[in-house]
């Protein structure tokens, strides 16, 4: 045995790996530099290979030594600029470096591997140019003998005044080792090697500490002792900090994964005769090592896909007026406590028509469904099992692994994938990953008397169906149980049954019982889990299940609860697979049953709630930022104003019964706060009891209940519901907030005239009122045709058009399209109003030339858009817009 000291051998392997880690990137850089050789860079590679060679020779690793030696020879010449690196040469070198890594990874058997092919190729390169310096070869040969081999390559650099080699005779022993140390030193400072076993142990301890804390918190809550509370608060904090610190030790830069992509792309594009280059950003973003390990393969697959299916052949790119070299951008960044990775290519994009046709062919979707599908949904088809977009499956990216596997793998680690593609311009895939897998927020539920945890990332919402509504909202469609939820049908899975618990039928026997439903999502696929009880949310430590339980696809692991009991963690995609929920069925199922008569008109998504007994109110969902549930005692009253202390600031609250004609709020322990933004502030509206969120399409009566703060009323399910005007309500409660604006308005011009096309009388009047309130003259039209007639008439005097989308005779798209294609009118700004801002509408709007898209009820934004556009198109001339008109999100 040439290497009988295993410790030394292990040390060699670790060190060599460190040396080899960067070589690939460096070689690629050398290739990119071409004839313009960066001597320092070549030197760096040279030294790395040289160290490996020396140590290998010393340890009797002959194959490693031979290969490193041949590689070193070529690098030596390159350093002396005797060889100009080009693709074929670097190719050979890269392959040799790969082989070297392979040898080192299997060091025990490395002496049995045949490396002569690589050595021969390298020697050829070496010899081709060394004809005129034959002497060089001999001393280099010597260098293979033992470690201080550095003596040998000095004869070569002699010609080049490399800084460190002024005198060959004296320097050799120190020169080659010193620079090696130099490169290694900063690494030692910036990171330390920690055994994974130690880290895992630390992690376990932190986990236990978390459990201990949970236990303590639980007992404190039950006994109510003040001192205990302080202790637990402290413990809570310490635990969290310790947890964070330990997590930090496991964090690795995502660049570790990214770094291999330049090579992957280079090799693949060469094979496909395409030209691509890779741009990488955010390689320093750190994620847990488990995630680094898990993300490698899916990322590689997607990058390969981008090269293979995304980037077009150079000729085609030129025809399309693109740079013949395609760009693939990898970008990692933090977003909302998670890590995002974007993989963008500027290739051909996904041809959704072809995709749909193929999906129909394969029976994944029906023809009808394909016709209705939005572009976005169609692009998502690539994630369906058994789908591959390339016309012929190449051996490169279509190696039996589809995008569906990629998606599943990413979801397995708690991430999600999104895809966006524009035909002709490129595709962007966006991956969202958790920072760590070890501790996750989750919701505890009960089913069949047992407790389970559901990861929060999978939960969309919690729905409680009251006993009285069960029969109405839960029904059987095509043999499957579904829940009616806001106009769609959501497939339901009874957890008891999915998990084969005895007595699973009990619930079925009581059709009137209330149901707790956890709406979960895995990928784009949603369904509802019927559970017995929903307990509480808790941060849980994920523990793996033993080998005997690997077959339990419904479970993603287990955790230990505060009371020491074990609770399995549910795997929502596993449950979906087990219960055979089919995704495409769900997509086609739309609830047509009880809303048909309402479907004719425009649809609004409304939050319905009651405040006083039997008094119903509604607020458009589009205006709501979020909804909070609070205890009554959290509300402070300061100078007659109700406030909620919240996230370090105080949120002003509006009480309906003080602002409009309404009964006073029902006495309850908890209320909901509907948070919205107005005048750049956050305001909360108190709602005693939330009823539902529904998409409705009904006529709004703008007269009967009209008062400042109430926009109008609708009748739904034989109940009269008053639609609140949040702007007016806020105005009434806090007139001083708007005072400033009033003053500025006084200076505002009244000479701008706006054409308003809107078929609903209610909205037309509403919009006209607030536009006139802002000082504009308004010409209102009942539909697009009237509007067009006015515009095409002589001397229309219009400065801006605001149009609804859905109108009889001529809709908003057509009106806009006419305006924008008319030479006289094309300079007229157009704001489109919609009640539901769908992506599809926005896209169509942008196509026909809509300047801005706004939601009907959002008075502030509509006005700010109007001002912005008037300024932009120079319609205001000397006049200035109120400073309060913020140029915020055009596409909300």
């Amino acid at each position: 045995m040439p290497f009988d000291d295993p410790a030394l051998l292990a040390e060699f392997v670790t060190e060599s790996r460190e040396h080899l880690a960067d070589i690939e990137g460096e070689l690629l850089q050398i290739e990119a530099n071409g004839a313009n050789i960066d001597v320092d860079l070549v030197n760096q590679v040279f030294r790395a290979i040289h160290s490996i060679k020396g140590a290998a020779g010393f340890m009797g690793l002959t194959r490693v030594n031979e290969l490193a030696h041949a590689l070193e020879n070529v690098l030596g010449k390159m350093r002396n600029k005797e060889i100009t690196p080009d693709s074929p040469i670097v190719d050979v070198m890269l392959k040799a470096a790969d082989e070297l890594s392979g040898l080192i990874n299997n060091i025990e058997s490395s002496n049995d591997v045949d490396v002569s092919g690589h050595v021969e190729l390298l020697n050829q390169i070496f010899q081709n140019c060394s004809a005129h310096v034959p002497a060089a070869e001999v001393p280099v040969e010597d260098s293979a003998v033992d470690t201080p081999a550095a003596v040998a390559e000095q004869p070569e650099p002699e010609s080049k005044p490399t800084p460190a080699t002024p005198s060959v005779a004296k320097q050799p022993p120190t020169e080659p080792t010193a620079p090696v140390k130099q490169t290694a030193a900063p690494q030692v400072e910036s990171s330390i090697r920690v055994q994974v076993g130690v880290l895992d142990r630390l992690m376990n301890l932190a986990g236990e500490l978390v459990l201990g804390r949970n236990q303590l918190l639980q007992s404190v809550n039950s006994t109510d002792g003040n001192s205990l509370q302080a202790v637990s608060a402290r413990l809570d904090q310490v635990t969290s900090e310790l947890q964070e610190a330990i997590m930090q030790t496991r964090m690795q830069p995502i660049g570790n994964v990214f770094n291999k992509f330049p090579r992957v792309v280079r090799d693949l594009s060469a094979k496909l005769e395409k030209q691509c280059h890779v741009v990488m950003e955010g390689g320093e973003v750190e994620v847990d090592k488990t995630i680094i390990e898990a993300i490698g393969d899916p990322l590689t697959h997607m990058v390969r896909n981008s090269v293979d299916h995304g980037i077009e052949m150079p000729e085609r790119r030129m025809e399309a007026n693109k740079n013949p070299t395609g760009t693939i951008t990898l970008k990692a960044y933090h977003k909302a406590g998670k890590v995002r990775i974007d993989i963008c290519d500027d290739g051909g994009g996904i041809d959704t028509q072809r995709l749909k046709a193929k999906a129909v062919d394969k029976g994944i979707i029906t023809k009808e469904r394909a016709a209705q599908m939005s572009e976005r949904d169609a692009v998502w088809l690539v994630f369906h099992p058994g789908f591959s977009t390339a016309e012929k499956v190449s051996d490169l990216s279509g190696r039996g692994v589809g995008m569906d596997v990629v998606r599943t793998n990413i979801e397995k680690i708690g991430g999600s994938v999104d895809i966006e593609s524009t035909l002709g311009t490129g595709t962007t895939i966006q991956i969202t990953l958790p920072l760590t897998l070890a501790i996750i927020p989750s919701m505890l539920i009960r089913s069949g008397g047992r407790r389970f945890a559901v990861p929060q990332v999978n939960i969309v919402e919690l729905v409680r169906v009251r006993g009285s509504e069960t029969a109405q909202r839960i029904s059987n469609v095509k043999g499957a149980r579904v829940l009616r939820l806001r106009g769609t049908l959501l497939p339901l899975v009874e957890l008891n049954r999915a998990l084969n618990f005895a007595g699973a039928n009990d619930k079925e026997d009581a059709p009137d019982g209330p149901r707790q439903i956890v709406v979960v999502e895995s990928g784009q696929f949603r369904y509802g889990l019927i559970v017995d009880e929903i307990d509480d949310s808790e941060e849980i430590v994920v523990k793996p299940l033993g080998r005997h339980l690997k077959s339990c696809v419904c479970l993603a692991g287990a955790t230990i609860l505060g009371d020491g009991h074990v609770a399995p963690i549910l795997d929502v995609s596993g449950i979906a697979a087990k219960t055979d929920l089919r995704t495409h069925d769900q997509e086609t199922v739309q609830d047509h049953s009880n809303e048909d008569p309402l479907r004719s008109g425009e649809r609004h998504s409304l939050l319905m709630f009651t405040n006083g007994p039997e008094e119903h109110f509604a607020v458009p969902m589009t205006l709501i930022s979020r909804i909070e549930r609070i205890r009554i005692d959290q509300i402070d009253t300061v100078g007659g104003q109700e406030l909620l202390q919240y996230r370090g600031t105080s949120l002003p609250l509006l009480a309906i019964d003080r602002l409009i004609e309404a009964k006073s709020r029902a006495e309850t322990e908890n209320v909901h706060v509907v948070v919205f933004q107005i005048q750049g502030r956050e305001v909360g509206l108190i709602a005693a009891h939330l009823n539902d969120i529904r998409e409705v399409a009904v006529d709004i009566d703008g007269t009967t209940f009209r008062e400042p703060g109430v926009a109008g009323s609708i009748v739904l399910d034989e109940k009269t519901i008053r639609m609140l005007d949040l702007y007016e309500l806020t105005c009434k409660a806090h007139p001083n907030w708007f005072a400033e604006k009033k003053i500025e308005q006084a200076n505002a011009p009244s000479s701008c005239t706006i054409l308003l096309a809107e078929d609903s009388g209610f909205f037309r009047k509403k919009a006209k009122d607030y536009l006139m309130g802002e000082g504009f003259s308004v010409v209102d039209c009942e539909d697009g045709q009237y509007a067009w007639d006015h515009l095409s008439g002589p001397d229309h005097g219009i400065d801006l058009v605001i149009t609804d989308i859905e109108m009889p005779r001529m809709n908003g798209f057509e009106l806009t399209s006419r305006i924008k294609t008319d030479p006289e009118l094309s300079n007229l700004p157009v704001v489109a109003l919609t009640s539901l801002a769908s992506d599809e509408d926005q896209r169509r709007g942008a196509e026909v030339g809509v300047d801005d898209y706004q939601i009907k009820m959002d008075r502030e934004r509509v006005l700010s858009a109007v001002w912005r556009l008037l300024n932009k198109y120079g319609k205001t001339n000397k006049k200035t817009s109120p400073s309060t008109a913020k140029p915020e999100g055009c596409f909300s």
């Binding site: 459990l211 523990k543 339980l549 077959s551 339990c552 287990a558």
Partner: protein, 152 residues
């Protein structure tokens, strides 16, 4: 891990066996396999688990699978009694509990005195046994842990 290695290597030296009952059968394991014995019987059932898995327990912060030895050996499932115990063995990087009906003594024997196990012991499949040892009154069957744990 290899149980066979331990037994054959210790030829001539004394071998310590932890013995326990599963049903009427007196089984044993070389003591070095036994990590601990506990009364932690608060099992959490695992849905869709194989029949011979009784559930999982909290073993000081780790989730350990508990195997019903009776099921593995082809008997009726075990019943909980005041004598029931979990015998925790270390298998690779995980700890696994074996549910046994009663713990008996630790005996020291010479490994020479182990005889090959018959194809069938009291109706249990012989493949789970490494050999038998006869005391004056009883037969102690030496369990093959690897074989037991390899049942899927």
């Amino acid at each position: 891990m290899s149980a066979s290695g331990t037994i054959t290597k210790s030829t001539g030296t004394d071998l310590q066996l932890a013995t326990f009952y599963v049903g009427e059968l007196l089984l044993s394991l070389p003591i070095e396999f036994v990590q601990e014995i506990n009364r932690n019987l608060e099992l959490t059932e695992v849905p869709h688990a194989p029949e011979h898995v009784r559930g999982v327990i909290n073993l000081r912060g780790d989730v350990a699978t508990v195997i019903d030895l009776r099921r593995i050996l082809g008997f009726d499932p075990a019943v909980v009694s005041s004598h029931s115990r979990n015998l925790i063995v270390r298998a690779g990087d995980e700890s696994i509990g074996l549910w046994v009906d009663r713990i008996a003594d630790i005996i020291s024997i010479s490994s020479d005195s182990i005889s090959p196990s018959p194809a069938n012991v009291s109706g249990a499949d012989g493949r789970f046994f490494k050999g038998v040892y006869r005391t004056e009154s009883e037969i102690v069957v030496i369990l093959d842990v690897d074989e037991v744990l390899s049942v899927e």
